[in-house]
Symmetry: C2
Subunit: 411 residues, 2 copies
Amino acid sequence: MLNQRAADLDSADPLAHVRGRFILPEDVVYLDGNSLGALPAAVPAAVEDAVHRQWGTDLIRSWNTNGWWDAPVRTGDAIGRLIGAAPGQVVAGDSTSVQLFNTLLAAARLRPGRPLLLTDPDHFPTDQYIADSVGRLLGLEVRRVPAREAAAVLAAEGDRIAVAAYAPVDYRTGELYDMAALTAAAHTAGALAHWDLCHAAGALPVRLDAIGADFAVGCGYKYLSGGPGAPAFAYLARRHQQTFDHPVTGWHGHAEPFAMSGTYTPAPGITRARLGTPPLLSLAALEAALTAYDGVDMEDVRAKSLSLTGFFQDCADELLDGLGFTMATPRDPARRGSQVALRHPEAYPLVAALVARGVIGDMRAPDLLRFGFNALYLTHADVLRAVEELRDIAISGAHRAPALQERPTVT
Amino acid sequence: MLNQRAADLDSADPLAHVRGRFILPEDVVYLDGNSLGALPAAVPAAVEDAVHRQWGTDLIRSWNTNGWWDAPVRTGDAIGRLIGAAPGQVVAGDSTSVQLFNTLLAAARLRPGRPLLLTDPDHFPTDQYIADSVGRLLGLEVRRVPAREAAAVLAAEGDRIAVAAYAPVDYRTGELYDMAALTAAAHTAGALAHWDLCHAAGALPVRLDAIGADFAVGCGYKYLSGGPGAPAFAYLARRHQQTFDHPVTGWHGHAEPFAMSGTYTPAPGITRARLGTPPLLSLAALEAALTAYDGVDMEDVRAKSLSLTGFFQDCADELLDGLGFTMATPRDPARRGSQVALRHPEAYPLVAALVARGVIGDMRAPDLLRFGFNALYLTHADVLRAVEELRDIAISGAHRAPALQERPTVT
């Protein structure tokens, strides 16, 4: 029955042809694209060209002749198309940590006299650490309020809040929050909305311009499949660009970088959010990776993603019943991102046993098995195989083998 | 005569065999390795492996199985060997701008109550912008004092100075300053010494531990030849590591990153200076590039570099006499880095004409022709050819061709 349903769903999949744009290892079901996306087929040639021809042969001339100088803004615009940002509002470069720090501090500077930063106690750790760092530098209190309570807090004491910094998708449970509502609540209070799109960009439609978001950041290596440690991105709504006053004032963001002036004069537009020299080999990979989205409608991505995650939940209901798992991810599609998380007291060895069988997910301490679904390259047959393997492991006790109990450094 | 001298010097060159570790375009004399180093022969295979096998096949498992997690510290140690830093004091990652910001702010925090930051009015623009940014965030005055006057200012009012932030080599003129003396002057005043090694790392011996430097940063893409926008590095002297209190608190620097705690607890040792996820393709290129230094003594690099730059100056004296050039770089070897700069009112078209003939240098407004010398891959014959071409252009007026007057975006 589940087999037939998987086959039917896959044969009706309007994105089925996109799977061919990725190089996937044989016999692997890759459900960790929310941590590191798979290799897009366009990447190897682009990187080889960047290494051999652009760097090796054209050398320093590539800044002009091979478009290196414009790469951060050009790649930013390509990301912008996936997150509802009109051109000229997104720049690619640096790490998510750096982009978070730089934009969050700049956002807080736009609301002087307001002593509070709001962020999520379930936010990814770096987001919390950076909020604390910005708070300390600017003398602001950082208050942790869960996403679902943030609107109420904004309504009650919003005139004291400078910035509300949240993510649309909980990185552990995959729960999806209403970006538009929280952005509106921030604005009603006169605060700014800052979004971390790491688990949303490329996974589901994001409408930054339409909902009036102020600032956003995200990484290039999860759903965007830009490669390990791919450059991050920052979104600055056009209305904030002339007042964007950021701390990491590198020369690439200068109005006249080659005047080599000793005084910083920020460039107009998004260019001022360029920080240092970008890692161009990694940026070439990211730019090539984004072509996997050519002609792809994010609404179709969302529909398929929900179909994959919903099917996973159905398979889990049927095949994992009574085996000690509980569903951590909402079943309501409106509240579900592009991942499914299960709780189980033996989460770590279960994931290790799955990986040993070629089904790659990850886990988050203490008890979450986490599966990410990239609609560009996964099938419903993949989903069924993953749950079947998990059932087989749980029933057979294969995960209790001694070799699977040892925990590596990184999981 | 000059021909014979070039041949004699090249045949006695103990580093001659190292040139084969680089892929250089035919008929090109590359004198811009102080802006973007040439392609080391070890890089293409390393990058291809990182793309195809590590990312494409091993996927997320590479964090453990292919050493991704340790790459920033492992690569940092490899750089440390070139700059006189014992293992465990250097980390690679992020851009120079970010590393500058992060370490300069942390350095200033170690000297609370001292209201001044000292930096060089001839420092690279980013260094000045970042010093201003740090000054604004911490409420410090930034005073610009030329390197050669810094020791006197430190002696006179050093008890008010938190950090002296300088570079050992002037990025325009190539003048070399005495790092040991300035570091000692800072310490006598109770201040900290912060060094930007962009134009020194890999070009000449740097003795960070021996001179007692406090913090240093540098880029990976100049003499280290790590590729366009290669990750930068930061040096934290071991004695400051436990008190290093930096602003860009990414999760990779956490004592227990995978505990995913909401509170930042910095890791012990150099690990706390890890910021965000590093761009691993670019980092793989940098790590492979550094193998070009295997078995190479930095004293030999320095000797050859001085021979190349000294020979360039001699050739210029003889061949460019009366053609409107003046020497901007000191002739005293003790005051000369690994570059030579000439002044000429037509600097830009002269450089453009040289590039058109395959002799690649660059220029800095308004009137500097700038030539960088990487001792690992240049010969004295290259030097002579460069000066001969420049002479021929200047005499013939070839640089006055209309096509060479148009200035591209980046120079």
